[in-house]
């Protein structure tokens, strides 16, 4: 396992100059790379190294750093290794390269990210509304979107639940644990 991970890292770092690799325990390797290189590295992983299974495309909202982090998770059936490819795009006006010609299923994740985070994918196939029908508000999964205020304003609420609280507050009260700093900042 360790040798395989090593060779993978070697291969990638020789082919792509501006990539930083990070080893994890178990069968996981992370790569951090600029957003222009993403299609190239994914193509390389799929065609040259046999990582032909796209497990997931995830998005993380780094509000403080004003960036979105997009993570592509690919898997090889021969190496039995997950590779996480991280990249960052700026939060204002985020544009990303579309990879659904590499994996057809990437289309689903990209459409979801487009609706939930507002990331534009260039040349996305079938860009009409997907999960959110008739949605008019801002992209709801962004961290600066206040769901509670939105819900209170949009949906009529039955009286008698004014004491309803964020579930995190309840947990904190019960266990006495501390909120992390970034969460405190955006605490409702």
């Amino acid at each position: 396992m360790k040798e395989i991970k090593k060779t993978v890292i070697e291969k990638i770092t020789t082919h792509f100059k501006e990539v930083t690799a990070q080893q994890h325990d178990g069968n996981r390797v992370d790569f951090f790379i600029g957003k222009e290189e993403i299609p190239a590295i994914l193509f390389f992983l799929k065609d040259e190294m046999g990582y032909n299974h796209l497990s997931h495309i995830a998005c993380v909202d780094w509000l403080e750093e004003k960036e979105f982090e997009i993570v592509y998770i690919v898997w090889s059936y021969t190496d039995k290794i997950k590779i996480f490819v991280h990249t960052r795009v700026e939060r204002e006006n985020p544009v990303m390269d579309n990879v659904d010609m590499i994996w057809r299923q990437a289309n689903t994740y990209e459409r979801e990210m487009k609706e939930m985070y507002g990331i534009e994918f260039t040349g996305l196939e079938a860009p009409e509304e997907f999960l959110l029908e008739d949605w008019e508000g801002p992209p709801p999964m962004r961290r600066d979107f206040d769901t509670e205020a939105y819900a209170r304003e949009k949906f009529w609420e039955r009286p008698g639940r004014e004491d309803a609280r964020d579930v995190r507050e309840t947990i904190i009260e019960r266990t006495g644990e501390e909120l992390p700093d970034f969460a405190k900042k955006y605490k409702r």
């Binding site: 959110l132 508000g137 769901t147 949009k154 949906f155 009529w156 039955r158 309803a164």
Partner: protein, 181 residues
């Protein structure tokens, strides 16, 4: 003779008896509550002995059973299904999500009170209500029907504008056939 008051009363009693003991349920399995229905229908609790029976399509159904939270997207379909049902029709809201939003009270796409959008005859409380609670809900509905008080459809017809305004408030692109009963 039909207009005669007493004979109309007898007809009403027979009709209400039939309606009461033959409830064809269209279970709109929106949320987690759908999983409570199989035990309700199968041999442990056996709702069929009360005349409760699954219906395949809204055209045949009497009771619309909404089993859990409703996003705006499913609410649209539920309203459509409700309007396709034939009068007399009843709605059972199932679980606390339909009553006050339940655990989804602060969700950006989940409605919090079903009765703002369609006439609910019976709410069954719980998260989720157990089959016993479901059966007691059906029994309560039967009592209402027997007394002739389960008139949700009539309420809907009379207050259609109010319901429509609420529905259109959460569903911006309103595109449905007219309801003109």
């Amino acid at each position: 003779m039909i207009n005669d008051k007493n004979s109309q009363k007898i007809v009403d009693i027979i009709q209400n008896f039939a309606r009461q003991h033959s409830l064809w349920v269209l279970a709109y399995g929106t949320g987690c509550g759908a999983i409570e229905l199989p035990p309700t229908m199968t041999s442990r609790y056996d709702a069929e002995r009360l005349g409760v029976r699954g219906a395949a399509t809204p055209r045949q159904a009497d009771v619309l059973l909404i089993t859990g939270y409703l996003t705006t997207k499913t609410l649209k379909r539920v309203i459509r299904v409700y309007e396709q049902m034939q009068d007399p029709k009843y709605v059972i809201g199932f679980g606390s999500c339909t009553i006050n939003g339940g655990m989804y009270w602060d969700s950006y796409n989940t409605i919090k009170a079903l009765d703002r959008y369609m006439p609910v005859d019976i709410y069954i409380n719980g998260c989720m209500p157990r089959p016993e609670a479901v059966l007691s809900g059906f029994a309560k509905l039967q009592k209402l029907i027997q007394a002739g008080k389960a008139d949700g459809a009539k309420k809907y017809k009379e207050n259609l504008e109010w319901y429509r305004a609420n529905q259109k408030n959460v569903i911006p692109n309103w595109r449905m056939p007219e309801y003109n009963w």
